[in-house]
Amino acid sequence: MNMNMRNPHWRSTVAAVLTALSATAIGVAQQRPAVPASLQNYKPVTAERLRKPEDGDWLMVRRTYDGWGYSPLTEITAGNVARLQPAWVVSTGVNNGHEAAPIVNNGVMFVATPGNQVLALDAKSGRILWRYRRELPEDVLNLHPTSRGVALSGEKVFFASGDAVLVALDARTGREVWTTKVEENRNGYYMSLAPLVADGKVVVGTSGGELGVRGFVAAFDLETGKPLWKVFSVPAPGEPGSETWPKGDQWKTGGGSIWVSANYDPDTNLAYWGTGNGGPWMGDQRPGDNLYTSSTIAIDLASGAIKGHFQYHPNDSWDWDEVSPPILVDYTRNGRTIKGLIDVARDGYLWFLERTNGRINFVQGMPFVKQNVFKSLDPKTGRPEIDPEHKPGTGKKADHCPSLWGGKNWPPIAFSPRTRMIYIPANENLCGTSIGAPVSYTAGSRFTGATTTFYVAPGADHIGEVQAWNVDTGKRVWTHPFATSPTWGPMLATAGGVVFSGGTNDRQFRAFDASSGKVLWEFPTNSGIIGQPSSFMVDGKQYIAVQSGWGIDSRGMQTRLNEGSPGNFPEVPEGGAIWVFAVK
């Protein structure tokens, strides 16, 4: 725009506009003359529907509060999935990693994408109903520029904006109802998770563990965005757990990011959040166990109090965030039914835990990929004994498996109550080295103090795997290896006996037989798939939806694999699209 700023009229106009807009933030929904019929008849999302969704809906990122990623629909089966075909595809218009699940409420789909964008679409046709895009400051701090999804409540859509601002949109129009600043982006706080709507609140946490943040979870009023409570994942002096930060002010920059939305038990009103690693990365720079980093914390949504925790490993020094939260599954062990939590951790261990009305109890833990850091687990507490040879430190280089990206990173597992199996997107045979250096804190600057390398274990014949484990036996049932690719594919299980996932560098979206692991169908999309698949029904027909759009860590890993084996891990094309499939 050619605008003479010395012209006093322009100056006052711009000043007024800036003042008005800075108060309400800058989100511009695409203007449309009329609200489409599907939105006029928009079905409000009640607390009861969130708790017990209709079979054909997918109202939150993992569909249900227990985090199963499971659809009860049965039209698409192991017998007919070979006939799965695209029903529609829509470009998102942006690059980078598309990680969000397509959320579907009664035929209306909501999809968050990179570019700080939310799309509303007709789930049957793919027609775009509205587009919301929130502009970000040019100097925004966001090391993982993606969104893992939106949340629904009433007639609102909740979106965690990259600059640590929580946004409530009108589901019918895409216009902002309210915005609330969650934290100061200039100090390294940003958001990439899907909000959680539960207990009549909308709840989020913040990322920024590489930038010296102090992680937290905070709740806001659904109607107004007013802050309700805030609880830190790193305790202040005097609070429970502060004894695990014995030195000075290290807790102030202690990390414990919240990367992914919690799973939730409505019976106890406890939400289970995974927490990130400590900051800076080397444990010898912050002595102590460093609660509640690399943990699961159980937060009472009524008060924000931490009622229980389980730390997967103390004093992290490997960048092993506990990115994804445990899923809630009741399983049997030795004839006893356990109200369980099952977590597939970045540290390479599969954890079977017990949930109560507070305390989290250890039941069993075992490696699911090559792991050379834990010598053993305490049989009562699950606390690992760390092999000092494989623990890096300041000026001390150490080799460790898995690599800094872990045996499984953020992509969620799925659980099928029909097969009683969990499905894990695992990365086997990846190791690395880490070494620390002193680092000083500057707000908004990198605060890791670590240099890392990354390599494929000698003799390895594959990297990525889809693993299936029976939750009642604790035994692995099948493994599907990917010879030339890691996997970053979130899992979807369905009652039709089919498991879906992408994740590989060959752009494929795959269907596996849930019982045997046999690949029943695959389809090459526009880009690599790191999005969370979902399934829904419109007019009696079942669909499978997923975003394809490679980027963020999947791309970073591909780059580093190619450094180690030039030419064998070429670039994966970028560019986002929403795909919807159905059996013809």
């Binding site: 725009m1 006052s12 106009t13 711009v14 007024a16 506009v17 800036l18 003042t19 008005a20 807009l21 800075s22 800058i26 511009v28 942006v94 690059n95 980078n96 990179p114 570019g115 700080n116 502009e135 970000l136 400051p137 040019e138 100097d139 925004v140 701090l141 966001n142 090391l143 520029p145 993606t146 990259g162 200039r186 590489e210 500057t442 908004g444 600057s445 990198r446 890791t448 240099t451 980027g551 963020i552 791309r555 970073g556 780059t559 580093r560 190619n562 450094e563």
Partner: protein
């Protein structure tokens, strides 16, 4: 009320789309991009001692710096997009265009990765490359900070330098816009 009317008129005039850029443009002197004639100081130097070429170790890890107004000593640290990296090399090893922007072998680039805006904080001594630890883009500082590897879509913007009174000074604005895809 008057403000409201003006706002509405502005939106209708299509102002809304360009407003974010207007908002993002920091207008305080500390937030302005480096200007011709600015001196350079280390990011952690409270004494604000202007840097000389000899202060930059040869063929070594980047020195982080801010530009500073030579008259009123305003340090342009108001925007993280102003963070600079200085490196020094034997001039014979520089590409022609890089040599033309260097002063006594010192080259300056933005510290902000063109991919997603992380700080390009790492140095690979064996390769002599700048390295972004977020997504592993690798830049060659001796050749215009061109992208050698990784997802960065374009080279790091360079800041041409000169030497005046023995001190390093900014000779021209950034060669391209300091920005990234804030997706």
């Amino acid at each position: 009320m008057g403000r409201r009317l003006i706002l509405k008129g502005g939106l209708h005039a299509g102002l809304a789309l360009s407003l974010p850029a207007a908002l993002g443009a920091q207008e305080s002197p500390a937030s302005l991009r480096p200007k011709v004639g600015d001196l350079l100081v280390r990011v952690d130097d409270k004494a604000l001692t202007p840097l000389r070429a000899d202060d930059i170790p040869i063929a070594s890890a980047q020195v982080l710096a801010w530009a500073m107004d030579p008259v009123d000593r305003t340090v342009r640290s108001g925007s993280r997009l102003n963070r600079l990296m200085l490196l020094r090399f034997d001039e014979t090893g520089l590409s022609a265009s890089t040599k033309s922007r260097a002063a006594a072998g010192v080259v300056a680039y933005t510290a902000i990765c063109t991919h997603t805006g992380c700080d390009v904080s790492d140095w690979l001594p064996d390769e002599g490359m700048l390295y972004c630890p977020c997504h592993f883009s690798k830049y060659d500082p001796k050749d215009g900070a061109m992208v050698v590897d990784g997802p960065a879509p374009r080279p790091l913007p360079a800041l041409p330098l000169a030497v005046a009174d023995g001190k390093l000074v900014v000779a021209a604005p950034f060669t391209t816009r300091v920005s990234f895809d804030p997706a």
